[in-house]
Symmetry: C2
Subunit: 345 residues, 2 copies
């Protein structure tokens, strides 16, 4: 079954939810173009989630997706946190910042009862999860609202697990993908494989429709993913330069350089492996560091560095999330990009 039938969209294109760089505007533009726009809720308060969903519903009658994280909330660990901040003290000095004023970790709450109640209230047509699925009672509440449910699998085992929980679609997240790896049954990065390897293996393993993600940047990529058995595709990186995205100036600038071809999985910005363009902090402290506090607690330490550096136009401490294929990034409207992506379907 194509995701057009499953989600009632015209095009088999899902705009990947990208927390921190987009809100309702990008989702609305993609949904109005016939794709499935997505609202990332992981970094939003419940009030903000409500107002963003209302904004989407006011601007489109088409289906859209609301995305939540469902990681296990971490246990604060003050010694680990202090040790982590200490590793960055030289950067604080360099930027004339007081390290004792380090920001709290950015709020990234796992899906909870309040969020489930928002889903019940606003009834988004599609709800997607990252890092597994929420507890059965919460998942049941979402399903009861009529929402189609999808989540990311980074291995065949995760795809089989998601299917067993009854998801309506599995997102096969290939290693090329930007942002956080959705891995939840394994922490072993060696288990993470490229889209060409992951997608067909998941397609063979499950009966549920499979959505391809990772490295898909243009119409040929969409066609190739469908040839590999995908029921649709999820594209993130290519949308980062669209005017409807909130991508920061330093992030946009980085995406336009040849250096954007070199990305890495890093845990230094949030505590979980996520793919971004290699920059100074990743080079000097990572890309993977064993002392990083649990997700998302690692994020507080670099936040003041990032804010100060960005104010100077410097991207040294900014997580520049991007996939391995930035060749599809174009400064055109998200609606145009969505149509272009689907032009060879």
């Amino acid at each position: 079954m194509s995701i057009c039938q499953l989600f009632n969209t015209d095009l088999p294109i899902i705009q990947a939810p990208m927390a921190g760089v987009q809100g309702c505007a990008l989702a609305v533009a993609v949904s109005n173009a016939g794709g499935l726009g997505s609202l990332p809720c992981a970094m939003l308060s419940t009030a903000a989630i409500a107002s963003e969903i209302q904004a989407i519903q006011a601007q489109t009658t088409r289906p859209f997706n609301v995305n939540f994280f469902c990681h296990t909330a971490p246990t604060p660990n003050a010694p680990k946190d202090h040790a982590w901040r200490a590793l960055m003290s030289a950067y604080y000095s360099e930027l004339s910042l007081d390290p004792t004023n380090a920001a709290p970790a950015s709020a990234r709450h796992p899906f909870n009862q309040e969020m489930a109640d928002l889903v019940s209230q606003f009834r988004p047509p599609v709800v997607s999860f990252h890092f597994g699925l929420p507890a059965p009672d919460l998942l049941h509440q979402v399903r009861s609202c009529g929402a189609k449910i999808m989540s990311s699998a980074t291995t065949v085992e995760e795809a089989l697990w998601l299917e067993a929980q009854g998801v309506d679609a599995v997102i096969a997240q290939g290693l090329e993908a930007g942002g956080h790896r959705g891995m939840f049954l394994t922490q072993d990065l060696l288990s993470q494989v490229g889209t060409f390897a992951l997608l067909p293996q998941i397609v063979k393993a499950v009966k549920t429709p499979v959505i391809a993600a990772g490295g898909i940047a243009d119409a040929q990529g969409v066609r190739a993913a469908l040839a590999l058995g995908a029921a649709g595709v999820q594209v993130g990186t290519a949308y980062l330069l669209c005017p409807e995205a909130n991508t920061s100036a330093v992030h946009r600038a980085a995406l336009k350089t040849d250096a954007a071809r070199v990305t890495a999985l890093t845990n230094i910005y949030t505590g979980r492996p996520a793919r971004g363009i290699v920059n100074r902090l990743m080079k000097e402290l990572g890309p993977i560091h064993a002392a990083a506090p649990d997700f998302p607690l690692a994020s507080g330490a670099s936040a003041p560095l990032r804010a100060k550096a960005e104010s100077l136009g410097v991207a040294d401490f900014t997580p520049l999330w991007a996939g391995q294929n930035v060749s599809g990034c174009r400064e055109i409207s998200a609606g145009e990009l969505t149509s272009a992506l689907a032009s060879q379907v």
Copy 2:
């Protein structure tokens, strides 16, 4: 231009040269089925190369490919070599082997005048290189014989460099690929990206026909690679279980397990990063170890361990080269597999 026109084959399928696990038999079977069979010469003496090429020419009138390495020959470094062997002394004890009897490194000679003279003598229709290209005079000699020339690129920069040297085709070796990374302008593993990201970027960057490699395991994979702009595909891992391959018993057994889904780039077996199924030595010493001697000098230390363990049916010390997608491995003839791979073209 499709590689069918370029190489005068019926099918756009190249069987990847796989040193150590195949000889003329696999190449003959693939060429006779309409693909381009390949003979890996890196580990053969010149006498063996000559007899293998003669065997191919006796058994097929179709085009075939002869493959050579062109790395820089390493400078022997006795202290480094001893330190490396010392890291494995406990394994020697465990297997009741004398560590002072460690084997010399396996011969993997870069392309040289003797090999070029063999090319002049036997005139193979296609010659491919790994790790860049040989010196200009040797390359000129190969070209003068009428051979079409190709080599692997693992980055856009490498593809542009190969095109500037006048190769007839560029192999885009995605990160999913098994065996040695062909990287030659960079040693930075972060520059290595998945086929979905690498292939379209190289296709956009060069005018030369591009061959896709990495993760392609079945007819859908071939179709997807062509959709991404490839002029043909190179497939290795899927052929490893064919009866015409010399794949060892422990290697075949490993390929049939679910554990074969977890591979890594390792330098502990040869000194250069190559992808294989994660096994004991890779887990305990690697997968990447900074003390590994230069390619191919690292190979001597583990060779006696490998031989003894394999005689006991144990794959703990065997390089189990494989790509990230073993789902296409089938115990059918290489001719049948070649036809199946091309069945959706």
